[in-house]
Amino acid sequence: MEGDIAAMGQFIGAGLAGIGSGAAAIGVGHVAGNFLAGALRNPSAAAGQTATLFIGIAFAEALGIFSFLVALLLMFAV
């Protein structure tokens, strides 16, 4: 059991990195929610801004994917 402390650290670290996915979910929800709030006030302008919406979602989501990548690296690569 002595050598398992490093493996334990890997799994705890991977689990902690999973928090980042939840934080990215909050960010994506903010982007989409604010878009909807704006779109319902001025529906005629909403169609032209869907590209901006997806760019915003992509940027917010990228950081969540980074944390997922850190978790994967801890699980399989380290």
């Binding site: 032209g48 590209a51 997806f54 760019i55 992509a58 989501e61 990228a62 994917i65 994967l72 399989f76």
Partner: protein, 251 residues
């Protein structure tokens, strides 16, 4: 990613990351750079699918389009409008490259959703090359078209003078992180979705929760169909945004 299988310490009958292993097509054993692998096969199938979707239906053009020609024209118009909206009129010159990227990623994502298929875009090696090509193209294009004025992208002239060096460093870092986030976003999304499907499929071997697990597989498969399109769209539209920066570097 995860080309080595870890079967130790897992209670599942198969490992969720096993689907991403690259295998040689003929025989088994070690392979070098020219060996045809399952990645080669599915990339070739992707290109064949693009030919079948775009080239063949439009080879015999009719005034009243057939179903195939309608699909090809709608796809063409969709990407054309996206390039025109984001980069403006002078970005239309680079439309063929962006269309190629979009169609390759779209078909690779959708072919990866077939059962027993191999998702080429789930590997960082593939998406990394695509993103690096975009990064190099955009950087070279920016310097060729604008000369040293392209560096104005990093010098935010609307900010107070004292803040500009700090902002320049931040802008420089964010510029060089672009290919990383660009590739990891696509690769990570595809890999995560497929791994989650396999995890739920692994739960299905427990008899008590198998109906829930199979329903979960179906639900996540539906989500993955959406993700496959959205990630191709996001990759393409970010390429357009980067291209716009190269064409009009004024901050």
């Amino acid at each position: 990613m995860a080309t080595d299988a870890h079967s130790d310490g897992s209670s599942l009958a198969f490992h969720p990351m096993d689907q991403f292993i690259i295998k040689p097509l003929f025989g088994d054993g070690d392979f070098s750079w020219y060996t045809p692998t399952n990645a080669t096969l599915w990339m070739a199938l992707g290109i064949l699918a693009v030919v079948a979707l775009l080239v063949l239906p439009t080879s015999r053009r009719a005034l009243v389009p057939t179903r195939g020609q309608s699909i090809a024209e709608l796809t063409y118009g969709f990407v054309y409008k996206m390039v025109e909206d984001v980069t403006g009129k002078d970005g239309i010159k680079y439309f063929p490259y962006i269309m190629t990227l979009f169609m390759f990623i779209l078909t690779a994502n959708f072919l990866g959703l077939l059962p027993m298929a191999f998702t080429t875009t789930s590997h960082i090696a593939v998406t990394g090359v695509l993103a690096l090509a975009v990064f190099l193209t955009v950087t070279v294009l920016g310097f060729v078209l604008n000369g040293s004025k392209f560096l104005g992208l990093f010098w935010v002239s609307s900010a107070p003078l004292a803040l500009r060096p700090v902002l320049a460093i931040i802008e420089l870092i964010s510029y060089f992180v672009r290919p990383v986030s660009h590739s990891v976003r696509l690769g990570g999304n595809m890999m995560a979705g497929h791994a989650v499907i396999k995890v739920f499929a692994g739960f299905a071997q427990v008899a008590v929760i198998s109906p829930i697990a199979i329903a979960g597989v179906v639900a996540i498969y539906g989500l993955e169909i959406m993700v496959a399109f959205i990630q191709a769209y996001v990759f393409t539209i970010l390429t357009c945004v980067y291209l716009k920066d190269a064409l009009h570097p004024a901050h």
